[in-house]
Subunit: 431 residues, 2 copies
């Protein structure tokens, strides 16, 4: 039986998962693919840490060159994370004629263009199924299963930590910080959770989804990113009352000949399938012109879930190697109807607005007047119960409005002497 050797760089949580699967499913995979996948070398800066998988000690090294320079290694699996050393290693692996599997969304989001170009030039592949939605085969589905399709939008819940926090706030009726602490206690949020809750991790994944659906690598700095740390329990509850759920969505959407690429908390109608995606689960919704609207759902993180995707990439590469094939489905075709990215100011959305106003005659008239002046029309208004402080929340749902107009209007409203807190606006999608 043909044997294909892999070298692993990064023997952390997911790395251990990959080794476990390759050990435990060795015969199972060989029976399916007719190829033996052998672990030739494992590199990690820490070679002494106790890990939850048993390996032959001689496989372990702290010197990445022993992986990169080993001519017997066909596939390099990069699971170390980071965007500097990891990048060097991947480039070096490609230059040395190796195929690459990575789960490193940050790296691909920042340097994908360079890395994919290098791979293409060398006739090698970089597969990255685990980088979005862990074990959900979303990348293979878009790239291969939907290969004949053009897409109008891809959006989803791609960060389990944020989704867990929002679900927790809603289910337990607790504040953001209480929910975040719960997430940390359960291991669903890092000690420093900023990448997740600020929407950066979602943006990394969105770069990859946008690339797959529209053939274009978007610069991270061109993505509008808003996290969830300003979401209050009050907004979660008003959303519920109004028939919505708040989710952090990553959205890439074709509007005319422009592409909108953005990450932000979103009001989703409770009937929308994505609204029922709770806890650390992820789901990606895809609108395609032939296959229609599809959704892919599953756990967004987890050692074995991510490792499952990494192993499926390894298996695909074994087939490419066996066939001497540069798998062309890697090729994305840029949607040439897209002339550029839409600027945030030009986004059009319906909005949920919450304005904290002193409850006295004429305030609502002033607010409505300002909104009207900016061409923002109101679909519904609810003035909430009076609090002790005489400040009442005025909750509105707008019709479609331009972001720029909305922001200008809110700025003006917040200057009114009767307004006592910064007003909140959350975009509404899926209606």
């Amino acid at each position: 039986m043909k044997k294909i050797n892999i070298g692993l760089i990064g023997f952390g949580n997911v790395g251990c998962g990959v080794i476990k699967i390759l050990q435990q499913r060795k015969a199972f995979l060989a029976q399916k693919i007719g190829i033996e996948i052998a672990i030739k070398k494992i590199c990690d800066k820490d070679t002494t840490k106790k890990r939850d998988v048993l390996i032959d000690k001689s496989l372990l090294t702290s010197d990445a060159n022993l992986v990169l320079n080993d001519p017997a290694i066909d596939i390099v699996v990069e699971l170390m994370g980071g965007t500097t050393l990891a990048k060097d290693y991947i480039l070096s692996a490609l230059k040395k004629g190796k195929h690459v599997v990575t789960a490193n969304k940050a790296l691909l989001a920042e340097h994908g263009l360079e890395l994919f170009a290098e791979a293409s030039e060398r006739g090698k592949n970089i597969y990255f199924e685990a980088s979005v939605g862990a074990g959900i085969p979303i990348i293979k589905s878009i790239r291969e299963g939907l290969i004949a399709n053009k897409f109008s939008c891809v959006f989803g819940i791609v960060n389990g930590t944020s989704n867990y926090v929002l679900t927790q706030m809603s289910d337990e009726n607790c504040t953001f910080s209480t929910a975040l602490s719960a997430a940390q206690a359960k291991g669903f949020a890092e000690k420093d959770p900023s990448l997740d809750i600020q929407g950066i991790d979602s943006a990394h994944k969105l770069v990859l989804l946008t690339y797959l659906a529209f053939g274009r690598i978007v610069n991270l700095k061109d993505i509008f990113i808003e996290g969830i740390s300003h979401i209050s329990l009050a907004d979660i509850n008003y959303a519920k009352e109004l028939g919505y759920t708040i989710k952090l969505l990553a959205i890439a959407k074709k509007e005319g000949n422009e592409l909108e690429v953005r990450v932000h908390p979103t009001f989703l109608p409770q009937e929308h399938l994505l609204a029922s995606v709770d806890g650390v689960f992820n789901a990606i919704y895809v609108s395609s012109d032939l296959a229609g609207d599809l959704m892919f759902y599953g756990p967004g993180a987890g050692q074995l879930s991510a490792a499952s995707a990494v192993v499926s990439d390894i298996v695909d590469l074994t087939q490419d190697i066996k066939a001497g094939l540069f798998r062309p489905t890697l090729n994305t075709v840029e949607d040439n109807l897209i002339k550029g990215l839409r600027k945030i100011d030009e986004f059009e959305n319906k909005y949920y607005i919450r304005i904290m106003a002193i409850d006295k005659p004429g305030v609502l008239a002033k607010i409505s007047g300002i909104l009207a002046k900016y061409g923002i029309s109101i679909a519904s208004v609810t003035q909430k119960e009076k609090l002790k402080s005489q400040v009442v929340p005025v909750v509105m749902i707008t019709h479609q409005a331009k972001e720029k107009s909305l922001r200008s209007a809110l700025k003006m409203i917040d200057k009114l002497t009767d307004i006592k807190e910064k007003s909140i606006a959350i975009r509404i999608e899926g209606v």
Copy 2:
């Protein structure tokens, strides 16, 4: 550029969709895969019918041999349907060294073993992505994306017609026959809808899902199949009241060392993701040991949706052909922990029961007595409002009970003089 020729047999609705896509996306696909896909021959018994796609008339023939015997044709796409001629054509194509794409679930469900064996012997592939869930890449996902996984269950809504009817009954508060007429009027149900509403089509698809997840081709006659025509509006509404939705599910589930394979209407908790899958949409839920619980959702039918899947299969075959590769991910590995199929009598479920009883003292005691005698314990009972007829529905939810015991108990109950209609039992899942 390498050119790969396809021959199409069956120029109906989906066939026209395939030709449309191959025409309109010719350059798009070529750019992605580096291969030109050419239509060499189209066969249909009707060569004169007006179709919604323009083709070179010389491509069209009513003689399948012109496809099967053409050495220039690399891939035969069978979209004629039926299980006799289609089978002969596919076997003949394989014997002549051609790869095959089909959407014919009935054929594969009945003769899959023979067809896959022939393909394997010839080193050719049969791809069938369109046969389950139309454009949803569920087959590729299980087979390739989740290749390292073992499965504990696969279940889903795989028949759009039945799901439309059930959704319609629930949304419009109408009877089964009214809902079915609506489905027929919209083209979502055939004039003779029996294959769909009796659960046969779901069972065909279940054979394929079971094959993919557990490596075993189950005999259609060994599948427990119950359709939806006996579902009454009353049951739809009681389900709602109790927090459930009724869906026709196709279920393959490992229980101990046995496999349960069954199609029947099911009470699903309203919070379950599948409960929100409405109308003609399909969704398949998969429990895997590494990637966790996944769901794949999308339109379950439609010309372009199914054609999208057929074209993705054609593209995969072009790669196999280019590489001279018998794609080994076709290989399924039989789960050898499974010793056999569980008989329906041995199934264990929670049940919804509706018993139509005359409202007089002692009736409930008699019913409960019989259930207790058969070891069936009751989780909740609601005795509904009295109707003019003095007959009241007694609605119960049971704890886990054996099908055999339940059936015996209901038979006994239905013999009571105070019981005026055949009692209804619907299985509860997902709890």
